[in-house]
Amino acid sequence: MIEALLLMMGLGAVAGTLLGIASKIFYVWEDPRIALVVDCLAGANCGGCGYTGCGACAAAMVSGEAPVSACIVAGADGAAKVAAVLGLEAGAAEALTSQNTCTGGFRAPEKFSYMGVNDCRAAYLLYAGAKDCDVGCLGFGSCVKACVFDALKIGPDGYPVVDEEKCVGCGACEKACPKGIMQVRKPSDRLLHMNLVTDRLAPCRQTCPAEVNIPKYINHIKRGEYDKAWLTVMERNPLPLSTGRVCPHPCEDACRRALADDPVSINQLKRFCSDWVMNKGTSLKIPVAPDTGYKVAIVGGGPSGLSAAFYLRRLGHKVKIFEWLPKLGGMIYYGIPEYRLPKEILYEDINRIFGLGGIEVKTGVKFGVDFDLESLVGGGFDAVLMTIGAMNHASARIPDEDKVKGVLPATVYLRRQGLGDPCPIGKRVGVIGGGNVAMDCLRSSVRLGAEKVYCLYRRTIKEMPANVVEIEACEHEGIEFITLCTPTKFTTDEEGILTGIEYLKNELGEPDASGRRKPVPIEGSETVIPLDNFILAIGQTTDSAFADEEGTAVSRLETKWGAIVNDSDTHQTAIPYVFTSGDCAGPPGLLVAAVGAGRRAARGIHKYLMGEDMAFPPARLRVDSRRMKGHIPGTIFDSIEGIQRKGRIAQPELEPGSYERQHTYAEVDLTVTEEDALKEANRCMRCCLTCYNKDTS
């Protein structure tokens, strides 16, 4: 009896002492908050949070990976306690939510008739499921069974619908789905996501250079949820009012509905929902990630810089924009005339971006003059984004083009209008060029009082890169097109003031590298037209002369034809902390491309600052929206069936020939009515990769 007692006591003492010593020797530092958080949790080790036990869940909460509400059993009270321990507002950390990425469901065709067990994982074992689409939802609701929060149900169309109020982001549905359709992500993960070939993308969404989720926002409009439509656009494009007005909408060229009647008027719908939000004046909450403590300088407040600022801020970084000119907006403020994009509207977009808070701006300072890379680094910025645009004009190679008085580059001509101090012009104005900038110069010349306005272009109207609607608008405004011509010299009076221009007529020869037929001048076809002013609108280049100076930090940048060389995926330049996007990073392009590039640059900077892998995944989708190439194989059709023919809605515009149209800067294209918008939204077939809604009502 005594021995037994002694043995047990001895054993207890030895074991206790050993464990006590061991816990000192093998002490591992652990955030003391983890233990405090564990006390707030249910302690059931149930795994409902998606982590292995309460300890792991607490560690995830402390590191910010899991929201404080992750523990289901502890509920809202527990979340409040955890939040108190961590010094957070409950819900301040970025919440994970689940999202269904497939809109196929019942409409998706099947390869065979599956009669087996009603479960996606079972169905998947047989040839990856019966659906024709490799990545489509099988619709048996394994995700619904996996969800313990009742946040998922199979909707009326046969695919799962997430109840965002109930979803806690536990990830059970994502694990249950054999096809990877349910995706549990933080808002920042969604912002950082770039289109992949493995995604479920409609042709329009593949084509959009900004990767806007077009079918989703049109579906919101269809349901009358204009605010949600706007928020969907803002996930990819922070300038929806501006793009809604001036975008040449390459997405519409890819619209599958065009095979039956006309493409859906996507851009007008974007404009409609953004105008609705603007006119309502409602402040919609856009989620911003917790502060990371990094500061990014953006040199140039143009569309690409603004887009990058918006996404960098949403990813939690502090941003400061440095702008040379007095107003933000860059080329879309100083290049696009008032009648196409009223400055007030553009500033509505810009003010929404600044509404996020945490974005500073300094105007009237020029890079290379008032500040440089050294001063930015010294000022505590962790990364620099150069979005200085392309503000210099390209030469038309006409002798004396920079000497003759009355010859103006389009950049200067349009910028002076933007500054409110238009160049005085005569009665007869000629513009060389066939792009949208040339159209802007032509149409604003009409408004500045020119009586006769000519457009000179070396090919035919068919080859003009400008938007067709712009060319039509020029015709409506009485602008004369002189096509197939090559200006050779200026005629001047004795004071060197322009009196006219001599040109040769062209004929079209063999197609060149761009696929367009090369214009060849015809000898002896000289013609002279009298002109008071001549505007050069044949392209722009970047003013990157600052990179040529020796011995400065910025001289390490590489330039090619003025553009700053970067990695087209990460947007990083030869200097690791300097990034560049927009017009200054390559051939000047569309506003929507600059917006998309801004988001990619924001992604590159974010990954660089956070020390993550910057490269794109190999499955990156690369679509050339100009040549309409590179779409996911099998998603571009030759014909479609089951569609009732219904034409698209017309573009409402100011009456051609009216006083306002010819002589004021009043906005020409108008926003569609709600009735028309709903009608147009209902034409959208909500396509995905291969399936689409037939016979839309």
């Binding site: 047990m8 074991a15 464990l19 061991a22 093998f26 002490y27 036990g53 067990v117 479960d119 079972a122």
Partner: protein
């Protein structure tokens, strides 16, 4: 040599600790819902049992037998195994963080695992020498792992099957375990 092989085969198949001796049923049902957990648990049991077998065998030989305290065996082994598992957990957390990340969450579960206790007691009861004890302490948990992993594979398929409401989850798992046990009875005549 032959004896040791016989002992191992007997421990793994014929006297399978789970399906024939019915020890360790709590983790058998608790960690068999997914293959990942089952594999982790199986590894952890092999690891802990090998250690526990050695320590308890030495304890028996050094303290209990010479002092004539064999009647205290069960209670002493409980304390020894519990302290051992705690110690291993503390040690692993510091010295082998990678292994801890894999096995860590299963270690506390093993503290109260009757299979571990059972094998330690069998080692003594069968009067194994040190080598025999070592073989038995590895072969029994190997049998445990085999049964657990087989069972997890079945359960992963059963989860997606059409099971009548009243039989879902643990009920059908117990029925399945019963059938597995019956089939393991087929090994009876092997040795």
């Amino acid at each position: 040599m032959g004896d040791y092989i016989l002992l191992a085969v007997g421990a793994i198949l014929v006297n399978n600790i789970l399906l024939i001796q019915y020890l360790g049923n709590c983790p058998f049902l608790g960690t068999s819902k997914s293959m990942d957990n089952a594999t982790g648990m199986a590894m952890a049991v092999v690891f802990v049992l090998a250690l526990a077998g050695i320590v308890t065998w030495i304890f028996e030989a050094v303290f209990l037998k010479p002092l004539g305290l064999e009647y205290m065996r069960t209670i002493v082994f409980i304390v020894v195994i519990a302290a051992l598992v705690q110690f291993v957990e503390i040690f692993m957390k510091k010295s082998m963080p990678a292994l801890y990340a894999g096995l860590g969450i299963f270690l506390p579960l093993i503290t109260t695992n009757c299979a571990v206790m059972g094998v330690c007691l069998i080692n003594i009861k069968e009067e194994y020498n040190f080598l025999e004890m070592l073989v038995s302490s590895i072969a029994y948990p190997a049998g445990f792992g085999l049964a657990l992993i087989l069972f997890a594979g079945l359960r992963e398929r059963i989860i997606i099957g059409r099971v009548p409401g009243p039989l879902q989850d643990v009920s059908i798992a117990l029925v399945t375990a019963g059938f597995m046990s019956l089939s393991f009875l087929g090994f009876k005549g092997m040795i």
